[in-house]
Symmetry: C2
Subunit: 184 residues, 2 copies
DNA sequence: CTGGTGGTGTACCGATCGGTACCCTATATG
DNA sequence: CATATAGGGTACCGATCGGTACACCACCAG
């Protein structure tokens, strides 16, 4: 039962941190929105950073699960799945509460690269990159590592374009660029 | 003389905001580091947001001036200059105080897309994109707009890779991808 | 000299920050 | 029943947040 309650806290915190920012969100607000008391909050999490870390862990799990599931639903051949990544990004960008990548935002707010929050953000990106690398390997492409790094550039670039510049062609542009890079 | 003093304030604020974040940096700290009094600070800037806006304006000017100057020093043909962009990015990533793109960070910390800080961040990206579009047009490339959008994807992706993932091949990877996209 | 005027610093505002001491209650065990 | 214990809430901690009231002081005009 406690696990469920704690998970509910993390889920709520995830939403507020994502929409509102980390430093801009106070523990008082989270306490007010979850209806729990501050004491109970700090019984579950030793500090605000701990709560942020838990939220990022949940985000990593939810996002990658969703991404992989959508990719595998849209295409079956490994090479097609790499391209489908950008269709999935497009779905994400078009969702009403899209506010950019939570891990990019976390990295923006925590300047110390050795901070656990930064390490976790880097780990999230690495996991996605290795998923793409596996797809490239399965597709029999030359230098799957390089392909994965290039696809990641397009993916992160598209996220920034969609979020900062509010481009509505970001996912499409990235997919076309990816197609060219893969056909070489 | 006063103009110089105010510029000095903005310059100092720019450095601290960039290294430390916007919400994480208090006005008290800026006041302490610049040696000025809080009253004088608020005589020059009506609010913290005003100071942030001034810092972003300075950053936009300094960064684009530096980028264009370095690009033009490294190459002369327009197509070569597009590729030189990524060499310049590499120089930036290797500089000891690189902490990512200030406008991406600003967009991460201010969730309201209509906020002046967000508008200014988008404007900065658009100015760079139009610079690349002009280069593509001068180079006689097909669809300069699409080329510019693709190059921006690679540029922003490389910034994220260098900052979040701490990739040390980001600029090189982006340059190779750009070369492939331009040769098509 | 007197009397403005504009820029400076001191000291402070209420609100909020992350975090905690303390009490209270529900339940399990004797 | 009494009692130990864990998880809950109230109320508060000192520090810091963005921002301001007000006294001060150098300057120039008369």
């Amino acid at each position: 039962m406690r696990q469920t309650k704690k998970d509910e806290l993390v889920e709520k915190a995830l939403g507020v941190f994502y929409q509102n920012g980390f430093h801009a969100t106070g523990m008082d607000r989270l306490v007010a929105e979850t209806g729990i008391s501050k004491t109970s909050m700090y019984k579950h999490f030793n500090s605000k950073d701990d709560l942020i870390l838990a939220a990022l862990e949940l985000r990593d799990r939810l996002f990658r699960d969703w991404m992989v599931q959508r990719i595998e639903a849209l295409a079956s051949a490994p090479a097609d799945r790499i391209l489908a990544l950008f269709d999935v990004l497009g779905e994400w960008f078009d969702s009403p509460d899209f506010k950019g990548c939570m891990f990019i935002k976390a990295s923006a707010e925590f300047p110390d690269a050795a901070h656990p929050i930064r390490r976790q953000s880097a780990a999230h990106k690495r996991l996605i990159q290795s998923y793409i690398r596996d797809l490239a390997r399965q597709a029999g492409l030359n230098d799957p590592d390089r392909i994965a790094r290039q696809m990641m550039l397009l993916k992160e670039g598209a996220i920034i374009a969609a979020h900062v510049t509010r481009s509505d062609t970001a996912a499409h542009d990235a997919k076309e660029a990816a197609r060219q890079l893969l056909s070489a």
